[in-house]
């Protein structure tokens, strides 16, 4: 299944993902921008965990995994007990005052239906958010590392000049 991976080395905290998420989800974002310092920040959304504690604790069985693997809330079943928020290691599900149910990241279900990427991924100017499977991410990381090593070799060559 595909998930949103966050390259926190690229995230600059511009908040575009938050605004896009809010727009797609009735004005309230499901993304938290964590700012540790002036230059350390990371956009964090639901991890759609494989062994999701939120699903385990939900006594109303309102949480389910959809066909793409996204953990979602069946709003008509949710009783608003907030146990999922407590169980979630990131405190991701959030209580919606108006509808009295829990809401959380649904990986933009309505956009996926149209064959589009989640809004935050589409809009992130730095490409810090990547929608991919785990294998794809591994591949991306490996290529990045190879590229880095090649760059280093080139640099060494440049400094050492005529050694070849």
């Amino acid at each position: 299944m595909r998930k949103i991976f966050i390259d926190f080395r690229k995230c600059v905290g511009c908040g575009s993902c938050v605004a896009a998420c809010a727009r797609e989800h009735n004005g309230k974002p499901n993304i938290t921008l964590i700012e540790a310092s002036e230059i350390m920040m990371m956009s964090l959304n639901c991890r759609h965990c494989e062994n999701s504690p939120c699903m385990l604790v939900c006594s109303a069985r309102a949480l389910y995994r959809d066909e793409d693997g996204a953990v979602r809330v069946r709003h008509q079943d949710c009783v608003g007990c907030m146990l999922c928020e407590i169980a979630c290691p990131f405190g991701m599900p959030r209580f919606d005052e108006r509808r009295k149910v829990m809401v959380k990241c649904d990986l933009c279900a309505h956009r996926r239906k149209e064959g589009k990427l989640p809004a935050c991924v589409s809009t992130c100017p730095t490409g810090a958010l990547v929608f991919a499977t785990e294998e794809e991410i591994t591949r991306i990381k490996v290529t990045q590392n190879i590229a880095k090593r090649e760059e280093l070799l080139k640099k060494v060559e440049k400094i050492m000049g005529g050694l070849r």
């Binding site: 080395r9 690229k10 995230c11 600059v12 905290g13 511009c14 908040g15 575009s16 938050v18 605004a19 896009a20 809010a22 727009r23 004005g27 309230k28 974002p29 921008l33 310092s37 002036e38 230059i39 920040m41 809004a119 589409s122 809009t123 992130c124 100017p125 730095t126 490409g127 760059e151």
Partner: protein
């Protein structure tokens, strides 16, 4: 149906497709194109909440008139325009130069063009925009050096091997530019950031240089000094005066003034030496200091000597357009000099126009005029000291989409339609003209600015104001402003039309900067009063670095009293790694505005980014 609109919030001019879906009338789609200002249709926080931000409750809906008792009453457009015609005719009969025309930088090209046409046909060149204190300085320097040919579109960034961001932090001002930056980085470009503040853009940078606020020009001269020693041939391209100036700023001197190590100065010079396709971007961090003009000259000279491309970043969606349209006291549309007014006389059906340079924005506000026509900017909350000028004026018209502080001083308030409610073009910082479609009706009786100005022109019996559509105005612009497109060249074109640049010999030029006074400086951010979506608004505290804080005996949450020539204010501080020494980073606010002196240096530069001040610990009274 094709409905593509342009985001007006910054000078990127990002393109957005708006589509009606069942659940909502204005659904935003990210455009899938590469060759638009925002590759793949990416948007920042402001772009993503474009419709919501601009349909706020603060919108003006009906023309208003102030009554004797100081209350506003709704009036009809007819009465409002009649009253304006009457009053403006009176003033222009006595002395047209007693009227000041000030525009914002988010109005369309068509409105801007008609605005200056109205002013000039009424007989005054006192027409300027808020760009006067920022982007206009860049463009004046660019014009002086004739560097038009060096100006490249954003896509150049992706293919360059060196990107220098100077006095311009895209994260806060033009976030979508980061897409191009990341592309450059992926292609192996080196990225240099020059900014007094440490910010998150550092994550993408290879070299970060942190000069003290306002000292940029000395840093540039120092870099030029190193460049000339590395490449003596370059001196042939500089006049003797410039060489003399550069020779007095060797890197050690540069280090003394700017706080940037001589090594870093040398490595920037070396980077420019090694690069073969570099690009240099700058913004208001440079132009809004007392040495804004000489700094911009030095920067463009540096780029010219090293063959770097340049991109001057404006602050708002149409900073470039209002200047191109001649909303400036120094030039007619298309930067034509008053001596070359013939084509305009012919097109405007007049015998002659006033050929004396008018007053600029700050002159109009500091000297005071008898009447003001303010279009598309809440000038009072933007320019320090503007309220004094408006208070003294006999007649003030405020035409804007939103309510604002300026209303307090207005006699007539007119509601404007936004760009996507009236249609028209803007020009972004690439010099790309973009057509914005009309996606909705304006609220209440609000009208497009060009339409209002055209009506006023007709009522004042000025020749040639019979426009009904923005297209007609754009056609007239395309005849008078070199390179500007006709409506058919920009309509239904997501990528717009890049105005071909004037070529010609680039003449590097320098001017000696003024020396700086004051030990402590205020670096004001957020002066452009950007619309920000609720979800990402931050806290508002003054940032100070650890050393300064310990010298002053401050801890997080304490207050300081900041004194400048114009007054004093009490601010809460936060200790942060962002500011350099002797610097307080503050966010623009109403209290802050009152302590910024409205004083310009001889080049018309207003200091916002390095205001000299005294900072003391503030003891709260405990009773």
């Amino acid at each position: 149906m094709r409905t593509i609109i342009t985001c007006p919030h910054c000078s990127m001019g990002c393109r957005v497709r708006v589509r009606k879906v069942i659940s909502r009338p204005f659904n935003i789609d990210y455009l899938p194109f590469e060759d638009i200002p925002n590759p793949h249709g990416k948007l920042c926080a402001r772009g993503n909440s474009l419709i919501e931000l601009l349909s706020s409750k603060q919108r003006l809906k009906r023309p208003l008139k102030i009554t004797e008792s100081g209350k506003f009453v709704e009036i009809s457009w007819d009465r409002a325009l009649d009253e304006m015609t009457l009053r403006f005719s009176e003033f222009s009969k006595d002395d047209p130069t007693g009227i000041g025309f000030i525009s914002g930088e988010m109005i369309s090209n068509e409105s801007a063009y008609l605005f200056q046409k109205l002013a000039r046909l009424m007989g005054t060149n006192n027409v300027d925009s808020t760009a006067a204190i920022s982007h206009a300085i860049s463009i004046r320097a660019l014009n002086e050096i004739n560097a038009w040919g060096m100006w490249m579109p954003f896509s150049t960034i992706g293919e360059s091997d060196l990107v220098i961001l100077w006095g311009f932090n895209p994260v806060g001002t033009a976030p979508v530019l980061l897409s191009w930056l990341v592309k450059a980085k992926e292609n192996g470009a080196r990225i240099i950031v020059v900014d007094p503040r440490i910010t998150s853009i550092e994550k993408l940078a290879d070299l970060v240089v942190q000069p003290l606020p306002g000292t940029d020009v000395f840093l540039m001269l120092s870099i030029l000094n190193v460049i000339l020693t590395m490449d003596p041939d370059a001196s042939a391209r500089l006049p003797p005066g410039a060489l003399r100036l550069i020779s007095s700023y060797p890197p050690v001197r540069g280090e003394e003034i700017t706080g940037v190590s001589a090594d870093a100065i040398i490595s920037i010079a070396r980077e420019t030496e090694l690069s073969s396709s570099g690009v240099l971007l700058w913004g208001s961090g440079i132009t809004m200091t007392i040495n804004g003009y000489p700094a911009t000259l030095a920067l463009i000279t540096l780029a010219a000597l090293k063959g770097l491309s340049i991109i001057p970043m404006g602050r708002y969606g149409n900073s470039q357009g209002v200047l191109d349209m001649g909303v400036t006291p120094y030039y007619l549309p298309g930067y034509a000099h008053y001596t070359d007014a013939e084509p305009f006389l012919k097109a405007w059906l007049v015998e002659d126009i006033n050929r004396e340079e008018g007053m600029n924005l700050v002159e109009m506000l500091s000297r005071g005029l008898s009447a003001f026509y303010i279009l598309g900017t809440d000038i009072v909350s933007l320019i320090p000291g503007a309220e004094r000028a408006l208070e003294r004026a006999g007649f003030v018209v405020f035409q804007n989409a939103f309510q604002g502080k300026t209303m307090e001083f207005a006699d007539i308030v007119l509601p404007s339609a936004l760009l996507f409610e009236s249609g028209g073009t803007t020009t972004n910082s690439e010099g790309r003209v973009l057509w914005c479609d009309r996606i909705k009706r304006p609220p209440g009786e609000a009208k497009g600015d060009f339409e209002v100005i055209a009506q006023l022109g007709r009522r004042m019996k000025l020749p040639g104001f019979s426009y009904a559509f923005p297209e007609e105005v754009l056609r007239e612009i395309s005849i008078l402003v070199p390179g500007y497109p006709e409506p058919k060249d920009v309509k239904n074109r997501p990528d717009g039309f890049i105005v071909p640049r004037r070529k010609g010999l680039v003449v590097p030029k320098l001017e000696s900067p003024l020396s700086l006074d004051g030990r402590f400086r205020l670096l004001v951010t957020g002066q452009s009063m950007r619309f920000l979506p609720e979800v990402i608004k931050g806290e508002n505290t003054a940032k100070i670095n650890r050393e300064d804080a310990s010298v002053l005996g401050l801890k997080n949450g304490d207050s300081v009293i900041v004194k400048t020539d114009a007054g004093s204010a009490v601010l809460r501080v936060k200790i942060s790694s962002s500011p350099p020494r002797n610097t307080l980073i503050v966010h623009w606010s109403d209290e802050l505005r009152k302590i910024i002196p409205l004083r310009i240096s001889k080049w018309g530069c207003l200091d916002i980014k390095s205001v000299p001040c005294v900072v003391e610990r503030y003891e709260e009274d405990i009773h």
